[in-house]
């Protein structure tokens, strides 16, 4: 796998998530964390899930979503911060979108 994208901002407030998606490769993984969890309900998310057709691995930090009362959808994997550490080393590099 290639790049791990840590998405920490709401796409409703800033265009960081859109920038992330514009460079996303099909081997990459995405982690929604902090305010990035809000993106589960953003239209960009729907297009991401459709576009990648399951090839991009999409994750969300479960405590960050729960704290915000956001339901985790089935297309997305619920993970812990310790899993983010593991993903850091199963990918070649990390880009943080904050």
């Amino acid at each position: 796998m290639s790049t791990l994208h840590l998405v920490r901002q709401s796409a409703f407030a800033s265009n960081d998530f859109a920038q992330c998606l514009s460079v996303l490769d099909h081997q990459d993984s995405v982690v929604l964390m902090d305010d990035g969890c809000y993106n589960l309900k953003h239209p960009l998310m729907d297009s991401l899930i459709k576009r990648v057709d399951g090839s991009v691995n999409i994750n969300v930090v479960v405590s960050h979503a729960q704290a915000r009362a956001i339901e985790i959808i089935t297309a997305v994997k619920a993970i812990e911060i310790s899993d983010v550490v593991e993903l850091t080393f199963t990918h070649k590099k990390v880009i943080t979108w904050q």
Binding site: R8, S10, F12, A13, D34, D35, Y38, K41, S63, H64, Q66, A67, R68, A69
Partner: protein
């Protein structure tokens, strides 16, 4: 439109401070910083109204729990608004629906307003701060 013009031209009624909350609750201190101002105005018996727009509407949503993030959850303090006579709490309907959020809030007395009503309610205040 007529009712709005009447409201915005009735400058005699314009009073107090409106605070617009525009940021989500947990990643920045803006919400807490705005709350501190609201409570001080309340304790000095000065009129203050709270507006929630954009990502600020997330501050009102029910069933949140900042303690999962090791954060002292300032949202719980919203329940003190009644004690401080802070009664005018407005949320932008468009911002809620953009975010696919239900009108399910963790405090009572939240008034859901259309953009035109939201604007008109803002206009009834003398000063505005935004966080």
């Amino acid at each position: 439109m007529i009712s709005i013009e009447q409201q915005s031209s009735s400058s005699a009624q314009a009073n107090g401070l409106a605070i617009i909350n525009s940021k989500a609750p947990f990643s920045s201190t803006h919400g807490k910083d705005a709350l501190d101002i609201a409570l001080i105005f309340g304790s000095f018996e000065q009129k203050v109204s709270l507006f929630f727009q954009g990502d600020g509407v997330y501050q009102l949503i029910a069933d949140q729990d900042g303690s999962l993030l090791a954060i002292k959850d300032y949202l719980k303090t919203f329940s003190a608004f009644e004690f401080y006579d802070i009664e005018d709490i407005y949320v932008c309907q468009q911002s809620l629906s953009n975010r696919q959020l239900d009108e399910n809030f963790h405090i009572d007395e939240v008034k859901v307003l259309s953009s035109i009503e939201f604007s008109a309610a803002l206009n009834r205040h003398q000063h505005v701060l935004r966080f």
